[in-house]
């Protein structure tokens, strides 16, 4: 648990990779499969009355990889996932692509800062992004000529935000990352 703290001398970076870096590095295939699987989960036959509550699992996994493997999943992945989303749901092409790009951009900006926080702290940083993404989609839809919007869909963003912590734990387990340190990891 205090492995990192011990090996740090006067706060300088250890020579040998520790903890997270030592874990199996994420591969392109792993990233691709997890994002596609999460996206497919959202396409399951959810009950029609609760469609506005269905969380955006694809985005969740995308943000996870934005944080842990930004060289494998960044703006390009966000754009592609967004296009797939728009095409399958019959929405204006580019609507989700744009909002995902915005979220990814913000996450990449926040990334360095997030490293200093525990899982809960990270969740607090990321929570506003998911409703923001939904709001962006709804507003862009309005701007591009839809006359009416179902504002209940904002709730999906809140559900997605609430799922961040469990999703992180599940993805950590699936991708073989070491368990997270619950205490603040120096800096």
């Amino acid at each position: 648990m205090n492995g990192i703290g011990k090996s740090m001398v006067n706060g300088s970076k250890p020579l040998i990779p520790q903890g997270e870096e030592l874990a199996r590095p994420p591969t392109r295939l792993m990233v691709l499969i997890s994002i596609v699987a999460a996206f497919m989960l959202t396409l399951l036959p959810w009950p029609k009355a609760a469609l506005w509550l269905v969380p955006d699992l694809g985005l969740l996994v995308l943000v996870y990889w934005n944080i842990h493997a930004p060289r494998l999943a960044a703006l390009g992945a966000a754009f592609a996932l967004g296009l797939a989303m728009d095409a399958t749901h019959g929405l204006l092409l580019g609507l989700h692509a744009l909002s995902y790009c915005v979220v990814t951009f913000l996450v990449l900006m926040l990334r360095r800062r997030l490293a200093f926080f525990t899982l809960k702290g990270q969740a607090a940083h990321l929570a506003p992004l998911f409703p923001l993404q939904e709001a962006l989609v709804l507003l862009l839809g309005l701007a591009y000529g839809h006359s009416q919007v179902d504002w209940r869909y904002l709730a999906a963003g809140i559900v997605t935000a609430a799922l961040w912590v469990p999703a992180c734990l599940v993805l950590d387990r699936l991708t073989g990352r070491p368990a997270r340190l619950d205490k603040v990891t120096g800096g």
Binding site: L51, L72, L91, C101, W151
Partner: protein, 280 residues
């Protein structure tokens, strides 16, 4: 460690902000093109052709479970249901004879009046396979597409009444915009006095409205509205809605009528797409 996961020693690529700006620009252009021109429908159909089979595979276990539940139905229930259906079929047959008599009489009157006979309809049975997560329009996806001869623009009904219109056709599925969608409307006629009005969706799942109703129009709660057949899309005489209440004008010179759709809009699993009958 694969080279892709390693940060390069010298950064020789665009900055994050620049790349972000470029992606934003591409998205905005894409949306503009998609909303103005129909050029993107090819892309859409292509992606849908890939995703649709995958979705079918995903849905399959759920359908299997539902079917497995049906396997254990009690024999007694089946017999009772069969009796009920037989009875219903008898009644429908009798009604059908009446209908055929009326139709031939109607055709005769048409020829007497020198009018072309009313076009027949060809019915395509379809099943609702999913509702889409779309905050802007109310629509469902049915499992019949261009392979089955479905064409965009055709009316969709269920056993009770009109439910919507086919708006997009894919190879093996098509998208039906429901009558309750805000931008959807149908020309109707009051059954009682033949008054012609336009009924539209109001963005609620269970209500329709007549938006611009004359203050003195003779429309009462309880009136049944049928399609008038004036637009050439919806054939005449399909039940659409029942008037619930008339709202007197407050801020504008028109009254408004709130109606309840008669068809189970998107509730029933089986629907029928009405196609024009092919003439030899």
């Amino acid at each position: 460690m694969s080279p892709a996961t390693q940060a390069p020693l010298f950064v020789r690529e665009m900055g994050l902000t620049t790349r972000f700006g470029l992606y934003l620009l591409v998205c905005l252009i894409l949306m503009a093109v998609d909303s103005r021109y129909s050029a993107m429908s090819v892309v859409r159909t292509g992606i849908n052709a890939v995703v649709h089979p995958a979705q079918q595979v995903l849905v399959w276990p759920f359908e299997f479970l539902a079917d497995a539940g049906g396997f254990f139905t009690v024999h007694n229930d089946l017999v009772r249901e069969r009796d009920r259906l037989l009875q219903e079929r008898g009644q429908l047959r009798a009604r059908l004879q009446e209908y055929q008599a009326l139709k031939s009489e109607n055709d005769r009157l048409h020829t007497l009046a020198g009018l072309p006979p009313a076009p027949g309809l060809h019915r395509v049975q379809a099943e609702i396979i999913r509702a889409d997560q779309d905050p802007f329009t109310r629509k469902v996806i049915v499992n019949r597409g261009s392979l089955h001869g479905v064409v965009a623009g055709r009316p969709v009904i269920d056993e009770l009444g009109l439910i919507g219109q086919v708006t997009q056709v894919f190879p093996a599925s098509s998208e039906v915009t429901l009558l309750t969608d805000h931008n959807q409307s149908a020309p109707v006629q009051a059954k009682r006095n033949g008054m012609r009005i336009l009924v539209s969706g109001m963005g609620s799942d269970s209500l329709l409205e007549v938006r611009y109703l004359d203050l003195h129009a003779d429309l009462k709660p309880g009136d049944i509205l049928l399609t008038s057949g004036l637009d050439g899309i919806y054939p005449a005489g399909i039940p659409v809605a029942r008037v619930l209440q008339i709202e007197l004008p407050r801020h504008n010179p028109f009254a408004r009528a709130i109606c309840q759709p008669l068809g189970g809009v998107g509730q029933h699993r089986h629907v029928v797409i009405l196609m024009p009958e092919k003439r030899a």
